[in-house]
């Protein structure tokens, strides 16, 4: 097997991976960086993010507000020490991106503009038209081209981490174009592989978002944390699940039921005002909005489409000019894919899976429990998003922690003790054998069939509202699918660009992550944030569940579930309120703080 020697290996070249690579290169140009991605970097799913990235800039804003919005938005499942670090470093990292050329939208005076976003008290979302993720990704990719110490491995598909003696020594990857295996040795490894939304049927995610890094770390004994918290984005295209950005609502869009009524006011987000107001109505947090839509469906007040029940996203009153200026991508999506002119008609939308709050447990320094292994971005769970992520916190998360991970991994690589190659080589050869065995199982099952069954059961059992019997049915189904997975037949036996085989490998990752999600959900007997139950556990239970769920791999069996305390520093769990109720809660909280 080919061996490539590096100092820091980074798996994933999206926002967090590219930022980490640049951070290593800047911290020490003599360190060899291997930046590995199963797609060309500009295809990474960061590219699809639309709305923006949060960072406190306005005079009437404060780190404390951002902190509180994030912690409350996460329904107090956030590790507050990490959130403190996070909010303090957002603006500087966004400014660094601007210095690298990111075309942030501007105010008339030339300063970066900020806009309102769901669950945020004050406008603090930096944006680049409605293609913020696209511009951030391309800025990072183009900037990364300057550093000769970064060697890219474009279209290399990672199959395993090489772990010896509790320490990660690199990754084994398939060169997609040739089917050959390479062992990329490294003193430290950073996983930046993104989320796992493709376990569900209707999702905003690209085809590549299959939880690769999560599964690879999980298989080596690292826990997946808080996996039950999967975010439904309220406004997705029925059928494809393509995203209509939250910015639609930030710019003043309404959500209407079949009677043309702004139904969110019935769910504690009112009163309904004409102008968008932060944390009111359509600018409430995503989990609340998705749940409201679910309830409207139960009440029979939704619009029926060939792809399921929907509500109407009404952008008509924004006017054509504003739509073209601020939401051009949305207009394109509605017109090209649905034949709808948003200036004249409402757009049917329904919730779809969008973001994975959970992931590989990583501490404040982005370290995972495996020595030499770091994780950043959506694949990591470092505690800033908690039980529900606020929009525009993710795009900034990836650069804040991508940078930190790069710096930490670089430091580790500089002082890393030497490790013998022999044991690692055996592992690498083993990894190759295992990956080939998936294709040559000689069985009867087809991975496209298993994938379909997996996504259907996840939708049914781990949807917006959950109950024990449905979750158990999903857990059982997933166990069955994992068993059937061992009996795969991959028809394509070629070496050059064998996407049939890679699809089968991705399904392996998806199934293990799905199991972690389903079992974590089943075991959390409370409702919090994006995990809501209807079977007697409808309330939040801080006494028993102010904890993170940890899922540990357990061979072919269901994951072993354990718990870990949430770090609370200065925000004790409070009432999670929005709309008018939110304002009075804020006043109360302020009064209490003043008293103390």
């Amino acid at each position: 097997m080919e061996i490539f020697e590096s100092d820091v290996a980074i798996v994933g070249a999206g926002g967090s991976g590219l930022r980490a690579a640049i951070a290593v290169a800047e911290s020490d140009p003599s360190l060899r960086v291997a930046l590995i991605s199963k797609v060309y970097p500009m295809r990474s799913h960061t590219v699809a993010a639309e709305g923006g990235a949060a960072g406190v800039t306005r005079d009437d804003d404060s780190l404390d507000y951002h902190f509180h919005d994030t912690v409350a938005g996460g329904d107090w499942l956030c590790d507050q020490n990490v959130v403190e670090y996070f909010v303090a470093h957002c603006a500087e990292n966004l400014t660094q991106l601007e210095h690298w050329g990111c075309p942030w939208s501007r105010k008339a005076d030339g300063h970066v503009n900020v806009r309102a976003f769901g669950g945020m008290k004050v406008e603090r979302t930096w944006f680049a038209a409605d293609r913020s993720g696209f511009h951030m990704l391309h800025t990072l990719f183009q900037t990364s081209l300057q550093y000769p110490s970064i060697t890219r491995f474009d279209e290399y598909f990672c199959t395993d981490l090489v772990v010896d003696d509790g320490r990660c020594h690199g990754v084994v990857a398939i060169e997609v174009a040739t089917g050959r295996f390479t062992f990329i040795r490294a003193k430290s490894v950073i996983l930046c592989t993104g989320g796992a939304g493709r376990v569900y049927r209707e999702n905003t995610n690209g085809g590549i978002v299959t939880g690769d890094g999560m599964a690879m770390a999980y298989r080596q004994g690292a826990p997946l944390r808080d996996m039950e918290f999967m975010q439904f984005h309220p406004t997705c295209m029925p059928g494809t699940g393509l995203l209509f950005t939250e910015a639609c609502r930030g710019e003043g869009g309404f959500l209407l039921n079949r009677d043309g009524y702004r139904f969110l006011q019935d769910y504690g987000l009112g009163p309904a005002l004409d102008e968008p107001r932060n944390k009111f109505m359509e600018l409430g947090p995503r989990d609340r909005l998705s749940q409201a839509i679910w309830h409207e469906e139960r009440k029979g007040r939704t619009i029926t489409t060939p792809y399921g029940e929907a509500v109407h996203l009404d952008l008509r009153h924004l006017g054509r000019q504003k739509l073209q200026d601020r939401l051009p991508l949305i207009c394109e999506l509605a017109e090209e894919y649905m034949g709808i002119d948003p200036a004249r008609e409402c757009i049917p939308v329904r919730p779809g899976i969008h973001y994975t709050m959970g992931g590989i447990y990583a501490n404040l320094e982005t370290e995972t429990p495996l020595e030499g292994l770091y994780a950043a971005g959506e694949c990591a769970s470092n505690g800033i998003h908690g039980a529900n992520r606020l929009g525009s916190n993710s795009l900034v998360d990836i650069i804040v922690f991508g940078k930190l991970a790069g710096e930490r991994a670089a430091e580790y690589a500089r002082h890393a003790p030497h490790a013998s190659q022999a044991a690692q080589m055996m592992q690498a050869d083993d990894a190759e054998r295992r990956a080939l065995a998936v294709a040559d199982g000689g069985g009867k099952e087809r991975h496209s069939v298993l994938r379909r069954e997996m996504s259907r059961t996840m939708e049914r059992g781990c949807g917006i509202y959950r109950s024990a019997d449905e979750m158990q049915a999903t857990c059982d189904k997933l166990a069955e699918l994992r068993e059937r997975y061992r009996n795969l037949d991959v028809e394509d036996k070629s070496r050059v660009w064998n996407s049939d085989w890679l699809g089968a490998l991705e399904l392996g990752y998806l199934l293990e992550v799905a199991e972690a999600i389903a079992h974590s959900a089943l075991n959390r007997r409370e409702s919090r944030g994006a995990h809501q139950r209807l079977d007697g556990f409808e309330q939040r239970d801080d006494d028993n569940y102010l904890k993170h769920t940890l899922a540990y791999v357990n061979g072919m069996g269901p994951p072993r579930i354990a718990y870990q305390d949430v770090v609370i520093t200065r925000s004790p769990p409070g009432k999670r309120a929005y709309g008018a109720a939110g304002e009075s809660a804020d006043v109360e909280r302020q009064a209490q703080a003043n008293h103390a």
Binding site: R180, D440, K493, R495
Partner: protein, 141 residues
């Protein structure tokens, strides 16, 4: 193909390169482009004819009259009947590509559309040609 994937160590790639032969008739857009370029050749040839006339002018009245008579011959008139629409097409396609050579132009705070620039160019060309025709009509008996 074997019954198993055999990764091996050799490079199995054999990229297939497609020929560019006949590229110009694969797409109507290319045909239009080549027609446009072809008209440029004819423009260049006509410039030679005009240069010839200029030279004849320096050679005196008889030479000039002979050149004019050549222009009025039936063959020449037939040629001109073909050249006129060709030149018109050339002008049109020239103005169509012109906005591509210019940076964005603003008029009253809004960017001028490329089709507008083209239309203005064609209008100007037509106006100049008309003016010249009228001028010449006034001069000739």
């Amino acid at each position: 193909m074997s019954a198993r994937i055999e990764p091996g160590r050799t490079d199995p790639r054999r990229p297939w390169r497609r020929s560019m032969r006949g590229w110009w008739h694969r797409n109507p857009y290319y045909l239009r482009y080549l027609a446009m370029e072809a008209t440029s050749i004819l423009i260049a040839l006509y410039a030679l004819i005009l240069l010839l006339g200029l030279w004849r002018l320096t050679e005196g009245e008889a030479a000039w009259a002979a050149w004019l008579a050549m222009l009025k011959s039936p063959v020449s008139l037939a040629l001109h009947a073909i050249l006129l629409p060709v030149f018109a097409f050339h002008s049109y396609s020239w103005f169509r590509i012109m906005p591509k050579t210019l940076p964005a132009i603003e008029w009253r705070g809004k960017r001028l559309k490329q089709t507008t620039i083209t239309a203005l160019g064609i209008a100007a060309a037509v106006a100049v040609n008309l003016a010249l025709l009228l001028l010449l009509a006034g001069v000739q008996p």
